[in-house]
Each structure stands twice: as structure tokens, then as C-alpha cells.
Symmetry: C2
Subunit: 222 residues, 2 copies
Amino acid sequence: MSLRYALLALLTAQPMTGYDLAKAFHVSVGHVWHAPDSQIYPELKRMVADGVIEDRAVPWGATSTKTQYSITEQGIDAFGQWMEQPVEYPHERDPAHLRAAYFEWADPDAARRRLREHIEHYAQRRAQWQAQLDGIRARQHPILARRLESDTRHSPDAIVAFKVFTYEGFIDRADLEIAWAERGLALLDDLGEAGEAGEADGAGRVGRVGRVGREITRSESR
Amino acid sequence: MSLRYALLALLTAQPMTGYDLAKAFHVSVGHVWHAPDSQIYPELKRMVADGVIEDRAVPWGATSTKTQYSITEQGIDAFGQWMEQPVEYPHERDPAHLRAAYFEWADPDAARRRLREHIEHYAQRRAQWQAQLDGIRARQHPILARRLESDTRHSPDAIVAFKVFTYEGFIDRADLEIAWAERGLALLDDLGEAGEAGEADGAGRVGRVGRVGREITRSESR
DNA sequence: TATACCATGTAATAAGTTACATGATTTG
DNA sequence: CAAATCATGTAACTTATTACATGGTATA
């Protein structure tokens, strides 16, 4: 149901066609709540049926028309009421941490690849979020700029501050994930050293990892 | 597809009935990858059909039987191959951050409630993860203990270290979310003060939030 | 012998993914 | 006039959620 409110949020800034909306979505709120076009179009239909938005045919070219959607009074109410509802937190489902929990079944090099991919993944996301944040802080982000013009009922500073707050949270999260993966790489190195030492001793399976080699601590890797 | 590997991971420790497996799931790997029983049972059927696990009827009571599942050689291979595959990262879909991005549409008290719920949510998760972590570190966690007995091919220290690594990541994440929400509460306080100051001046909408009141910085709130 | 727990699901629905499909208009 | 982009989807599938259903076994 969040998709509906992500779309409503965009339409509080200005009326848009489905196409415009989908595009605007992908470069703004889509970084917080992803949805493909094929989910957006049907949802817009349902939203019209439910009265939270209106569709209007506007001319397109000489003969054609396109459908422009705008939020209704009822839609604004629904958006306000949404803010009164508790957030429904999704159940934990984390593919990267699930993998990491059973790294003993992986070749150490495969585990390292997974962790480096993790770092790469969050470095890319971080860059995207940072770009959003820069655009928001400078009030240059196109959708935000439009919103700041059209929204007369809220303080521009508040509008900006909440978006900054949101994206800062994502950036901190990306940093955390990168730091976590780096600790994982250090752990693999330590386990490797311990394993080799054990083998050199002819001892087979290793003992007391974390007391051999350097200590692995959470504070170290940052 | 991760559910399959979460179940395989449990079955690398010992054979179990569907019921045992579901129970074990909820108190261990289910904290990393949630699934309800109604998803587990059908998946087990599919896994038998695909040959990664075997089912065997074992006596239950005088006349009845129950189905015990055990991992096959093919299942162990599949688990190892899974470790060679890159993680498929889900698209970003964050209901709490989505809400926060548009807090200007919320009553400040409603926004505060959302943030306090966020803190409460992650405090509870943190406690759960911490409990898991304590059990793992002490090697008292029942499924882990069983695994440490039965798994002769991996170093017990490595088995433990990767699980510790995984859960530490979650705990750090919980701390981050709590700190984020606390910054949000501070932001709301600052915007409120600025708003009141503005109104007292008869200025209507507020100006220059972030320069009035105390500064809100990321380092401050922790 | 009642209550807790063991055991195993199904049905209906909702949500999300992937791939494909089609034509119109604007612009270089 | 060709290419880009605007415009709007549909179909098939997978995954996940919610709620319900049913009966057996162990134990106090």
C-alpha cells in the first residue's frame, strides 16, 4: 500500500501524466520505495477508482490526448491520514546477511567476493543517495523545486529538512554496510591465517580464532 | 529462492520434521530471513521434488508416522554453489523512511509518534538479535550447539565467527536506526521552536530553520 | 480427560517481477 | 524521415500474507 502514498506524495507537488509520474518516480521517491512502471500504471487506475486522484484527458499533438492525474481533496485527506497510521515494518529478509551467516560453507575467496560485492553495491547506492541529497540541499532537485513553488501550506525549510533527514539516514546505512563488509574481509583474513598456522602445526582444524592474529573488533574497521 | 537455502542451512545441522524445522527456523535463521509456516511446508515439498532433500516416514506414537527431512548430497552441492552466486539485492523499499520524507504533511505530534515507534521497533529487534548473539557466543544456542557437534568439515570457530559477524551487523543496524529516529525527534523540536518564534513575530511561515535553535548534526544525537 | 503441543497443511488474496507489446509524437 | 522519447499498458509468473482447517499424541 506504500506505493499508493509514494505516488500521492508526487502528485501533491503537481499534476502529471502517468509517464511523467513514472519518470519523476524513478528519479526521486523511487530511491526510497522502488516500483517498476508496470506496477505504477495499474495502481494509478485503482487510485482513480478509489477517488484519491482524478484523471483528465489533455491534448497531445494535433489529434491525440494523454491522461493527466491530479490529487483530489480526498487524496490529500488520505495522505494526511496515512501519516496518522503506524508504519508497518516488513519482516526481516536480508539475503546478504543470510549468506554471511553460513560463510563456512563457502570457499574463502568466494566469501571475499560476496563481501566486495556488498561494498560495491552500497558504494553505488551511497553515491545515488548522496546525489539526491546534494540536489535537495541546494534546492535544485527538479521535483523538489517544483514542490517548493507550489506548496504554500508548509514551510520550505521543513519540506527540505525532512528530505535531508531521510537521505542522511540512507547514507549512514550505506556507510554501515560498507564497514560491516570490511570487518568481514578482516575476519576472513584472520581465519585464513589461523587455518594456515594450524595446518603448519599439523593440527588440522583450527582453534581459538580471535586470539591468534590481530583482534577483530567493531571499532577497528572504521 | 533464499528461503530454500535458509532451510537447507538448518538441515546441514541435522535431519528434522517439517514441524521441527519450522520451529527451529523461527528461533534461528528466521531472524535473518523471515517465513511463515505456510511458506515453509510447500517449499519443503518442492525441495524434495528437486532432490535437494529427502523425506522419510518415521514412527510417531503407536500407529502414526511423521515425515523427516534430510539434506542430500545434491543438496549439499546446491548449498555450496549458492555461495558462489552473487547476492541478489532487493530493491529499496523502506516504509519508515518514505513516511519521514513527507513529515511536513503530518502533525508534528504524529511525526513524533512515528519516530518513537521506530525506536521501539528497533529496540525490540535489537534485544532479539542480542539474545541470539549471546547464545551463539556462549555456544549455547541449541541449533548451533547441534551444528557444532555434527559438522566435522568446518572449524567450530569459523562457524561461530560468521554467525557472530552476521548478528553484530544487525545490532549495529538497530543502533543506527535508533540514532536516526532520535535525530528526527530533535529536528522536530527545532522546527517547532522556529515555527513558534515565527508565529510570535507574526511572520507566518518560518524561515531559516537550522540556524535558529540548536544545531542538528549527525554526530550530536549519539 | 482436558489441555498443550505435535503435525501438516490449504485457500484466497495481495504484492511484486519480468517480459513483452504497441502506437503516437517530437526533434534533429 | 529516422530515431528518440512519449504514452500506456497487459500477461504470465513468482513470492508472500492471512486466515483457516484438521486431527493425532503426550502429559498433568
